[in-house]
């Protein structure tokens, strides 16, 4: 606990070193990412926890390559890369299902872009849809489905991007508590079976504790890593577990200082 920027050279799937980003607005510069260093091992599930508006989404946009960073190093499989473009899958709070495509056509977007949908991709898509409870809705349009179902489809689409690293940016943020709990369960199951490396951005302490191996806590904007917490609780976890409650206290304390800074 509290080991800042712990890294295991030679063993990291994705690592970020001293990522910096500021936006210039009306002539003045606004620092969003002050200094972000973190690393994720192959198959690890980590969460990035921070007060809202701290720049978590900007961090993901930088990693993906949609936003140009001012400084810092990104490495994937211990090789320095320009950005994660093409190496990572990205899922947002908005499901971004295309309204003109059926669910099946939507989830097959990845294979379609990277060179044609084959029978293999189709059957994999149907299998995953069955698994998340979307069987029978392949031919439906997104507008016909509930938010939860749409988000499940978005999750399947993200998996079918066939990338080792998944960046999930508050993927369940817009869902009600019940649906969110179902989604967390589904995500955990898929992660265990597919052994993906997952980075989850959230502002929900319980979500982070329920799902992840390690949690990075960010400071209020401009964001830096305030601390790192390992969650050594066997899964499935319960919010009533003693160690769970303990860690929740620790995390809330860390966040509290940052929230006060925001409102100071």
């Amino acid at each position: 606990m509290g080991k800042k920027g712990a890294s295991f050279p030679g063993n990291n799937k994705l690592s970020l070193r001293e990522i910096k980003k500021s936006f210039s607005k009306d002539g003045s510069s606004l620092a969003v990412l002050l200094d972000i260093s973190l690393s994720v091992r192959q198959g690890e599930f980590i969460s990035i926890l921070g007060p809202s508006g701290c720049g978590k989404s900007t961090l993901f946009n930088v990693v993906v390559g949609l936003v140009q960073r001012d400084g810092g190093i990104i490495s994937i499989d211990n090789r320095e890369v320009e950005n994660g473009l093409g190496d990572v899958a990205y899922m947002q709070q908005k499901d971004l299902l295309f309204p003109w495509r059926t669910l099946l056509q939507n989830v097959l977007l990845g294979p379609e872009i990277s060179g044609g949908v084959h029978e293999e991709a189709r059957s994999e898509a149907l299998e995953l849809m069955t698994r998340v409870g979307l069987r029978g809705f392949e031919g439906n349009y997104p507008a016909e489905l509930s938010m939860g179902m749409r988000q499940r489809a978005a999750l399947v689409r993200t998996l079918l991007f066939h990338k080792d690293i998944l960046l999930l940016d508050e993927p369940f943020g817009a869902l009600d508590a019940m649906t969110r709990s179902v989604m967390q369960h589904i995500l955990l199951g898929l992660w265990m079976d597919y052994r993906k490396t997952i980075l989850l951005v959230t502002h929900d302490v319980e979500e982070a504790l329920l799902l992840s191996d390690r949690i990075y806590v960010l400071t209020a904007r401009p964001a830096a890593v305030k601390g790192e917490v390992s969650v050594d609780i066997t899964r499935p976890r319960k919010v009533t577990d003693l160690s769970f409650v303990d860690l929740k206290g620790v995390l809330l304390d860390m966040l509290q200082g940052e929230i006060e800074r925001v409102f100071a």
């Binding site: 971004l96 295309f98 003109w100 349009y141």
Partner: protein
Amino acid sequence: MTRRILYPSILLVLFVLFWELMVWQFQVPHYILPAPSRIIRTLTVQQSLLLHHTFVTLEEIIVGFLLAFVVGVGLAFLMFQFPVLEKTFYPIVIGSQTIPVFAIAPLLVLWFGYGLSSKVVMAALIVFFPIVVNTLDGLKGADPDEVNLLRILKANRWQILWKVRVPSALPFIFSGCKIGISVSTIGAIIGEWVGSKEGLGYLMLHANAQLQISLIFASLIYLTILGVGLFYLVVLMERRAMPWKRFSEIR
């Protein structure tokens, strides 16, 4: 649904009855205002004449519309892909709208003759504008997050255009088409007025000169049916092209 048709129909029937009554009551001469019954008689007696001229106008409209559609959508795509073309053409396209088609109709007849082509050009000129502007707006209006989703997948610009921008633009393109088809009759009729040998506009002018006022009304009825029919044809194609729209409307 039935009330949507029922209420205006009732109003229309009442209006026609009132009209018939007034014409009889005040003995209005038929060369000023013919009674609806006289117009109905003209519709049956002159049916083949009316149909012939209707098909002439229909052909002008359809060819003109298709020409405007191809050129309009094409230009919008080019302007979208190459900003320099947008900067060059867009102000000219807007500026050209300040010239009334009426004003250049005689020139077009002079250049393209009394036949089909001058009316086609006239209809196309009038249809062109809403299609270009709407298509361009539609292409630009795609959700940036949806575009980014494809960028993350390393999609090339054609894939982004074809898989996100075009489907996003479809509702806009159809809006342009609906406006375009509604005004297309204006172009064709003006063209026929200025110089032609056939078509509903020609027939009306001809009937007017001979004080066959009921034939003017009969032509107007055909023109209305033609316009409404074409509009609903576009609506039908819109539904076919965008089956998903049905569901977004329910919600």
